[in-house]
């Protein structure tokens, strides 16, 4: 579904990524792991249209998406979450998810100002769908809470609900378990499985090895900007190079 071909990224004098290529298969959960500084977040930013790669191509369902800005990727079916959750802090939980439905609604400036009849219908639909996604992630009771006041774990759930509201075909998650305690991480694992079961392909960048080994169907390992290995969790666990790269690395 997602095809990375020869991605190279050079920042000034630093080569962050060097000729990275791999393919993500649909309806799977793929994990991208690697020691700190391996280039995982940079790769993410390139795929999701925030950076432009120095060379190489990114193909999403066969279409070259290099250079397509982030806002258009949402309507093409790709969405991402952030490592330091980027919530709309001053808006309520429900409103955050309603913004997630932006690309699936269409009332414009003019129509909204004049509150034309179809706008009211659309608002109702947005409201109801947003509540559904809150229920999906289990935070519907918090609908009217201001997002900035949420505890971190719930904030993570909100970000996921908002991303799901885009009804993406692929969701990229940047360290979703970061900052979660072990119970919350279990809840996260179950949620990601449910997301996959809905037909969404999931790619995650993670440091939490238990989570990765638990839920991922395939794993890609990066080290120092290059792809080190690729395979099932079992294969990766037994790969000597991977073990060597991680020796001494704190989780």
């Amino acid at each position: 579904m997602l095809d990375l071909q020869g991605i190279t990224q050079i920042f000034g004098g630093v080569t962050a990524l060097n000729d990275v290529s791999f393919t993500i298969r649909s309806n799977e959960i793929t994990g991208v792991i690697g020691p700190n500084g391996a280039g995982k977040t940079t790769l993410f930013n390139i795929v999701t249209g925030i950076y432009q790669q120095t060379s190489g191509r990114v193909l999403f369902e066969g279409v070259d998406i290099s250079g397509i800005p982030a806002e258009r990727l949402a309507s093409l079916g790709m969405v991402r979450t952030f490592q330091n959750i980027e919530l709309f802090g001053k808006m309520t939980v429900l409103e955050n998810v309603m913004v997630g439905l932006h690309s699936r609604s269409s009332s414009g400036l003019f129509a909204c100002s004049f509150k034309l009849p179809w706008v009211l219908k659309e608002e109702r639909r947005i409201h109801d769908e947003a509540m559904e996604w809150l229920r999906f992630t289990g935070i519907d009771e918090l609908a009217d809470v201001t997002a900035a006041n949420l505890p971190f774990g719930k904030g993570r759930m909100l970000e996921i609900a908002r991303a799901m509201a885009c009804q993406p075909r692929m969701m990229l998650m940047d360290e979703p378990a970061a900052g979660l305690n072990s119970q919350e991480t279990l809840g996260l694992a179950e949620l990601i499985r449910r997301i996959r079961d809905r037909g969404v392909t999931v790619v995650l960048v993670e440091h939490d090895m238990e989570l990765v080994m638990d839920i991922c169907d395939r794993i890609v390992v990066l080290n120092l900007g290059q792809k080190l290995a690729e395979g099932t969790p079992r294969e990766i666990q037994e790969n000597h190079e991977v073990i060597a790269a991680y020796l001494g690395d704190d989780d």
């Binding site: 982030a70 949402a74 709309f88 309520t92 309603m98 932006h102 690309s103 400036l109 909204c112």
Partner: protein, 332 residues
């Protein structure tokens, strides 16, 4: 930012009630102030309210700073004034033309200018405002330069000529009421949410599909359009316009009104406009102190009441009430 309970339908009823109350007060106010002078001041409160709301949409909702908004006000005034007077166009037509032309200009310049953020955007809008101000002053053949442009006819509807304070009051406030209605609708809509999302976390908004670039420019253009319409109204009400009414000082006054009222609160902008238009009238001795006053006010509000009066006054009440409770209810 004022937070309200989300878009439940009780929220809609509350907004409607607020608006009806506001409209009622506006319609009845002249009867309390048939004293002509105050009525005249209230006409300007109306114009300032429109300008403050326009700036608030850009600054309070979308989070983009503009220090040159008086320029759009002036462009609307001069376009409308010159076309009506020098070229004898129909005044209502010139208002429409002013709105479209200024809106179009803002749309075009919006793309490069809104790529800038924070301080740089502030400086750029400041520079733009000053360039336009200089044009008002120097293009004497068209604008009559520093001495001002006079002879602008009043607006009229059929036989009704808007030439008295009372008539101008209703004329201007009709526009203001329309502006408030549209802005409140916009603020509570999908677009309003998208704007606030851009303000809070632009990258995240883009990632879920909000076309931040386009939306910022659209709001910038809308904001300019409203300011231009206010300018046109101003020209026809005053029948005389001069460059000092459209300079940097005015841009700062508008900014102060929005900040005092509360960024992101439409009714707050009305409050700010009301206060800052009335105060100089009541404190005539303040004339030389007005600059110091604005500066001090901006600083104090930013430090102590960043949410503006709309948030600050209820907060103050709450604090006072809590203090009372803490004292064991000694005071009745």
């Amino acid at each position: 930012m004022v937070s309200r309970k989300a878009n439940g339908f009780s929220g809609v009823k509350r907004e409607l009630a607020k608006y009806l109350l506001f409209t009622l007060c506006v319609l009845l106010a002249p009867f309390a102030f048939l004293d002509s002078y105050l009525l005249n001041v209230l006409v300007f409160v109306g114009i300032h309210t429109m300008l403050a709301i326009a700036l608030n949409l850009l600054l309070g909702y979308a989070g983009q700073i503009s220090l040159g908004h008086a320029a759009f006000f002036g462009l609307g005034a001069y376009l409308s004034g010159v076309l009506t007077t020098t070229y004898s166009w129909n005044p209502w037509l010139t208002m429409l033309v002013a709105a479209v032309v200024v809106g179009g200009m803002a749309f075009a310049i919006g793309f490069p200018i809104l790529k800038l953020k924070g301080h740089y955007l502030a400086m750029a809008t400041l520079g733009l405002g000053i360039i336009i101000f200089i044009v008002f002053n120097e293009w004497v053949e068209v604008t009559s330069g520093p001495s001002g442009f006079s002879g602008i006819p009043n607006l009229q509807l059929g036989q009704l000529v808007f030439d008295s304070d009372l008539k101008n009051y209703y004329l201007v406030w009709c526009f203001v009421l329309g502006c408030v209605l549209l802005s409140v609708n916009l603020a509570n809509s999908r677009i309003g949410r998208a704007l606030r999302a851009i303000h809070d976390a632009e990258v995240a908004a883009r990632v879920v599909g909000v076309n931040a670039r386009l939306l910022k420019v659209q709001i910038f253009a809308l904001s300019a359009m409203i300011s231009a319409i206010a300018g046109s109204l101003y020209a026809h009400v005053m029948t005389f316009i001069a460059p000092p009414s459209f300079g940097f000082n005015i841009s700062v006054e508008l900014l102060t009104m929005v900040v005092i009222g509360g960024l992101g609160s439409i009714y707050g902008s009305f409050l700010g406009a009301l206060l800052l238009t009335l105060l100089p009238e009541f404190l005539r001795f303040m004339h030389d102190y007005d600059i110091v006053f604005y500066g001090g006010l901006l600083m104090v509000m930013t430090i102590f009441m960043p949410g503006g009066l709309v948030q600050g006054i209820p907060d103050l009440f709450r604090k006072l009430l809590n203090l009372r409770k803490g004292k064991g209810g000694n005071h009745a």
